[in-house]
């Protein structure tokens, strides 16, 4: 008797959109496996054209509710590069702190609310409130700190207000920075406790590896998040202005999100890519957390991306503490952005929580945007998810796994990439025949 497995997950999830998984197998052989992105296209590039340079950062932040700060910041970088605007050291540090706040928020959300339920074998964080309240409260505490840190530097948790071309419309007071400093200190201990609990349950992370290329920013000065040069585990350091030759975006019929490839048929961006390229520059606690989990470069297991995010939580906390100290040492000044509108083209790069993010704008002499291109991390990962599935699905089917396990393992794979908040939780609805 032939055994047929048909998985069709429809209009389910949102990444920067909705994602589907289609798996078709018969007698232990996978005939087709497809990671589809059916998200309604939103055409941001078209929205930006014709808008004033002052509005671009506010439009850009609306691309993503979770990484709105990264989009806002990279938009400013592209705009400032296009117009030749220089920023002060104070602005740079404050922006890096805003950026850390977002990485903390996004990573805690992903590891704590979206991945943890899989490790505990439940459908959401809600039942954990009853069974593991202590750890849930710790996760909420870290999440609240990250969000309130975003409020402090950006004026709002989601969709930053204060970030503006050349500087800030409002900066925190020294008193607020001192208060933040205490809370960051306190969060170090909480992070260790959360990491300990994740480690106890990390055995649920599938042991799957597939060699691929990893791409992330690298910097001689620090663990690259805000600034750096696009670098690859296959090709070394590259040139940011050549990003089009690195990302090579193309359209596939089963995805409204574009795919990307570089040296191989796919590549991965995100926390694991950053770890694989730059782990030696992590803060001491971050290195300890990596050691706890035995995470070493090069790690080819995509499921370990969540662990790399936890490592980065530790890094962002420690690095934020040193940046707050530096700002308090120098003292805060009220600065008024000072620049002229110049026409030109500018490329901005940054590491969003989900990976390499690029905005490229051309601005005319009136300060209007005449061309825009945005390369989103999740789009760069879609092909890598697809390629992972093409290797993983036959393994699962060949091992005669039951339908629930195949479903969960594929769901967890997609989640590991943290494509976006909503997709990560109820991603797939799998029907077997």
């Amino acid at each position: 008797m032939s055994k047929k497995i048909e998985i069709k997950i429809e209009h389910v999830t949102r990444v920067e959109g909705h994602g589907n998984i289609v798996l078709d197998a018969e007698d232990g052989a996978v005939k087709q496996v497809q990671w589809q992105v059916s998200e309604a296209p939103r055409f941001f590039e078209a929205m930006m054209v014709g808008r004033d340079y002052t509005e671009l950062t506010h439009i850009a932040s609306r691309i993503c509710g979770i990484c709105s700060i990264s989009h806002g910041l990279v938009s400013l970088k592209a705009t400032e590069n296009a117009m030749g605007v220089k920023i002060s050291d104070q602005t740079l540090w404050l922006r890096k702190l805003a950026h850390h706040a977002e990485h903390l928020q996004s990573h805690v959300l992903h590891v704590g609310y979206l991945v943890a339920p899989d490790l505990f074998g439940v459908g959401s964080v809600f039942p954990l409130v009853g069974t593991h309240k202590d750890i849930v409260v710790k996760i909420i505490k870290l999440h609240r700190l990250a969000n309130e840190m975003s409020d402090l530097f950006c004026g709002r948790t989601t969709h930053p207000i204060t970030l503006t071309v050349g500087g800030f419309t409002k900066i925190p007071t020294e008193k607020e920075l001192v208060a933040l400093r205490h809370r960051l200190d306190d969060a170090i201990e909480t992070t260790k406790e959360v990491a300990g609990v994740v480690l106890e349950n990390a055995g649920k992370l599938p042991d799957f590896t597939r060699e691929t290329e990893y791409i992330a920013l690298s910097s001689g000065d620090e663990y690259a998040m805000y600034d750096g040069v696009i670098s690859s585990t296959d090709a070394g350091r590259l040139n940011n202005d050549d990003y089009l030759d690195i990302t090579n975006e193309f359209v596939v019929p089963y995805s409204t999100a574009k795919h990307a490839r570089h040296k191989r048929d796919s590549y991965m961006v995100g926390a694991l890519a950053r770890f694989n390229l730059n782990s030696e520059k992590l803060s001491p606690l971050a290195k300890d957390v990596a050691d706890m989990f035995g995470l070493k470069p090069l790690n080819y297991n995509p499921y370990m991306n969540s662990v790399a995010q936890l490592v980065e939580v530790a890094h962002c906390l420690e690095d934020s503490i040193s940046k707050v100290d530096a700002l308090l040492d120098t003292g805060l000044k009220d600065e008024v952005p000072d620049f002229k509108v110049n026409p030109g083209r500018g490329v901005g790069v940054i590491e969003a929580p989900r990976g390499l993010l690029i905005h490229d704008y051309t601005i005319d002499e009136n300060g209007k945007c005449i061309k825009a291109n945005c390369v989103i991390p999740t789009n760069q990962n879609h092909r890598n998810i697809q390629k992972d599935m093409e290797v993983l699905a036959p393994q699962l089917v060949g091992q005669d796994k039951d339908k629930k396990e195949i479903e969960l393992t594929l769901e967890m794979l997609v989640r590991a990439y943290d494509p976006c908040i909503s997709c990560s939780t109820h991603y797939l609805k799998v029907d077997f025949e």
Binding site: T13, R42, A46, D52, R62, C64, I66, I161, T425
Partner: protein, 255 residues
């Protein structure tokens, strides 16, 4: 028979950044209180479980395609109360900015010469707000929504009351905060005509109101014109800023 008398609540999303649903999670510890008064039966952003049996549907995002409109109509049929969540759902929001161009044009800009004809994923019409497709009972405005306002709306609905949404301009809240007027600082602000409820969060942070909550029901356009005149600005300046979120008000959304 249902085992619980708590209202059953579901969250859905269409074309959006998901930032409004994220505010539910951003309620932090208060989420625990919220699940005391309602049963969340579908919320893909945070839970795997899903049910089609719900009383109140919160819908985030704009409607872009026939396939999305069909899904929304099914949600409307099932829900006793439908609440539009955030600017994209309430007024089209930033998604409606592309309605300045033809659908063919924006497709070309983003997807180039790729063969997407006849593919339902790519079959888009002009951006529509949720209310352009189905009846909406209540609106929670903003980009993103205020999580405090959302908590109040959910509490009101759980108690069977009508939620109170402000119908006065942002200037009222801004004055209460004793902010220096953005126009005085040489900036541009849509506070005089935009619906309040945000606590004048943008002017309070030194940035002009962008109109993300849409217009008050009867905007005082004469007063807005006076303000523009006083600060040497033109109606074109105002309209140019206005369509960032409120393009919908400039003309009928194309069907």
């Amino acid at each position: 028979m249902r085992p619980s008398v708590k209202p059953r609540v579901a969250f859905f999303d269409f074309a959006s950044c998901e930032g409004c649903q994220l505010q539910v999670i951003n309620l932090e510890e208060s989420v625990i209180d919220l699940i005391d008064i309602v049963d969340v039966v579908s919320f893909r952003e945070a839970m795997k479980e899903h049910s089609d049996d719900y009383d109140i549907a919160f819908v985030e995002g704009s409607i872009m395609r026939p396939m999305d409109a069909e899904r929304l109509k099914k949600i409307r049929e099932r829900a006793k109360i439908l609440v539009a969540l955030g600017a994209c759902a309430c007024i089209g929001g930033i998604n409606a900015l592309r309605n300045r161009y033809s659908v063919e044009h924006v497709k070309k800009v983003v997807y180039g010469d790729a063969d997407i004809e006849g593919n339902p994923f790519f079959d888009v019409f002009h951006t529509k707000a949720v209310g352009d497709v189905v009846d909406v009972d209540y609106y929670v405005y903003g980009c993103p929504i205020s999580r405090d306002e959302l908590a109040k709306v959910i509490t009101s609905l759980a108690l069977g009351k009508k939620p109170e949404i402000p119908n006065y301009p942002v200037c009222v809240e801004c004055k209460k905060k004793e902010n220096v007027c953005i126009f005085e600082k040489g900036g541009f602000c849509l506070g005089p005509v935009t619906r309040a409820g945000c606590g004048a969060i943008c002017p309070t942070n030194g940035s002009g109101c962008e109109g993300c909550r849409g217009l008050v029901d009867n905007p005082n356009t004469d007063s807005e014109l006076d303000v523009l005149k006083k600060y040497g600005l033109t109606v074109e300046d105002a309209l140019g800023r206005f369509d960032l979120f409120c393009y919908k008000y400039k003309g009928e959304v194309s069907k």
